[in-house]
Every structure is written in structure tokens, then in C-alpha cells.
Subunit: 150 residues, 2 copies
Amino acid sequence: MSSFKGSDIYVVDSKGRVSIPSKMRKNIQSESRYAFVITRGIEKCLYAYPLDEWRRMEESIRSLSQVNEKDRYFARTLMQWSEEVQLDAQFRLLIPKSLLDFAEISKEVFFIGVLDHIELWKPENFKKYIDSRKESYEKAVEHVMSARKS
Amino acid sequence: MSSFKGSDIYVVDSKGRVSIPSKMRKNIQSESRYAFVITRGIEKCLYAYPLDEWRRMEESIRSLSQVNEKDRYFARTLMQWSEEVQLDAQFRLLIPKSLLDFAEISKEVFFIGVLDHIELWKPENFKKYIDSRKESYEKAVEHVMSARKS
DNA sequence: AGGAAAGTGGGTAAAAGTGGGAAAATGAAT
DNA sequence: ATTCATTTTCCCACTTTTACCCACTTTCCT
């Protein structure tokens, strides 16, 4: 099970390539070390899953009822935006243009490791996201810590 | 389960390295003796967790639902600031620059062992923190100890 | 006092991060 | 079917950062 953590800023070059932070690369538990599925995230960002974590995810989507209208919509939308990509010899992701556009990423990418996946944000958008939240960091810690006690 | 205690002042060198107090080092119960997760603390300081203690914490973040908007925010906020670091052959931590900046640590670090984690403060900031508390140590003891009785 | 461990500093080889060009593949137009 | 233009893939090269090693001084302990 992966355990991505930390954050970093990297540049996307003119070909749409970005190195993934080495500390996150080292955290990949998958046998297929260099394959990711990159997809549309929740909020205006992208999620990158190593293949094994992605499969876990896919299973839970598979188990959704295809009868339910909402579930169908969710499954279609998610899969529509999902692309499998391989890291190149320099450990870079080639991010599809459509996804870059969705996340409004042009020159720089802000990476955050969030346990089972890596998030890619346009730096300004992440800042906006944080600023728009009312809860402080301290509240967040409190929330998690109190959950831990019980 | 670790049980850090005591305090000490150490210097950060030009590369961002600090020795961790040997008395605290000896207190690490983890099998992976030399791996820590260092993260943003509450108040303007850093927390260093030995890996096994950290995992405890991580479990509770993992159990947060990624579907719930608030939980997503918590997970991102916490993980953004968390970095895994290994002690080098001289038992030094290499503290990421972003975290040093957050805690305003430049030349010196004040270490405090607080049971399951070690805190790192800029000495001046710790002094300010203590001075800013109106409650005396005696009052605090009274408060905590009486709660314990019930 | 003497040896060992702790604390600090610095040099260097390796890895990480970035950029770009040439070969291979794709695909549309003649 | 062949040509030409565009995109994609693969490789090479350069710069910066990091990891690893060695060394010196101070403190601790018997």
C-alpha cells in the first residue's frame, strides 16, 4: 500500500512532461513501478494513481450499481478522464493535454502526496483552495487526532 | 511505544542538518530505528515522529472518507507538510527547507521530547510561547491533575 | 587520563531535475 | 501507394541538488 506524502513544485516542459518527485517515486509499492493512471481529481486538480492503487479504486467503481443513474454518470465521467501513462527513462509523466487544460496547469505543477494517490495542482489554484477554507490547520489536526483517540 | 522527554539546543548547519539529542535517539522503539516523519506542528514548531508512531496517525487520516469534502481538505492539509527523513550516519535529521521556513528556524533549534514525538522550535519562539501563557505552570498542573482524578 | 561517543563541518560522487534533438510513428492529402 | 507534415517516442546532455563518506573537536564516562 502506497503512502505518498509531502509537496513540491515542478515545471512542465513544452512537451507536457513533468518529473514526479523522487520521494514519491520511491514510495510506489507496485510491481509495475512506472505505470500510473492519471485522472480528473475532485476540485480542480488531477489525481495520479500507481497501477495497483488504481485497481483497488476500479474495483469499487465496478461494484457500483450500473442501474442507478447517478452511479452510471459517475462511472462514465471518471473513466472518460482516466489515462494510463508510463514514466519515461527520466521518470517523467507525460500528462495528456485535456487533463492539463482541465486543471489549468501550464508552466508549474504543485504536487501533494495524499497517501494512496498524488495530486497535481496549478499552484495558484491550490492556494485559492486553501484560502477559501474556513478551518485552520490546527482544527484539521484536532479533527484527526480526536478521531484517533476513539 | 516511544517516550521522549527532556530538552536541548542544537545547531542547524548550512545544509539543514541537525543532530537529534542522543537521549531521545535512545528512546526510539521502532524497528526502523532511523526513519522519522517530520511535519508541521501545532503552534509555530515542527513535530518529528518515529515511523511507527507516525503510522498510527496515518491510519486515522486514511480512514477519513475521501468522499466528504471536509475530510479531503484535512487529508490534503496534513499530508502537504509531512516528509519522511532518514537519520544519516551521524544521526542527523535533514530538515526540509519549507519546514524550516515555516518554523522560522535558522541557526539554532530547541528540542523538546513530548512522549510520542519530538518538537523542534526556534528558541526565541518557544520563549515567546511560554511568556504568552497567562496560566502559570502551577495552575496548569492543578487543572490537568484534577481532571485525571475524575 | 584515556577511550568512546556525541556534536559539527565539509568534499565528492551519484542522483534528481530539466531541456532539446533525432528517429519512429501516425495520418492526411495528392 | 507515396509523399509530406505533424506528433510521439527515445535518447543524450547539462546543471543543480542530495546522499554518503571522512575528519576534527568537544563532551562524557569509567
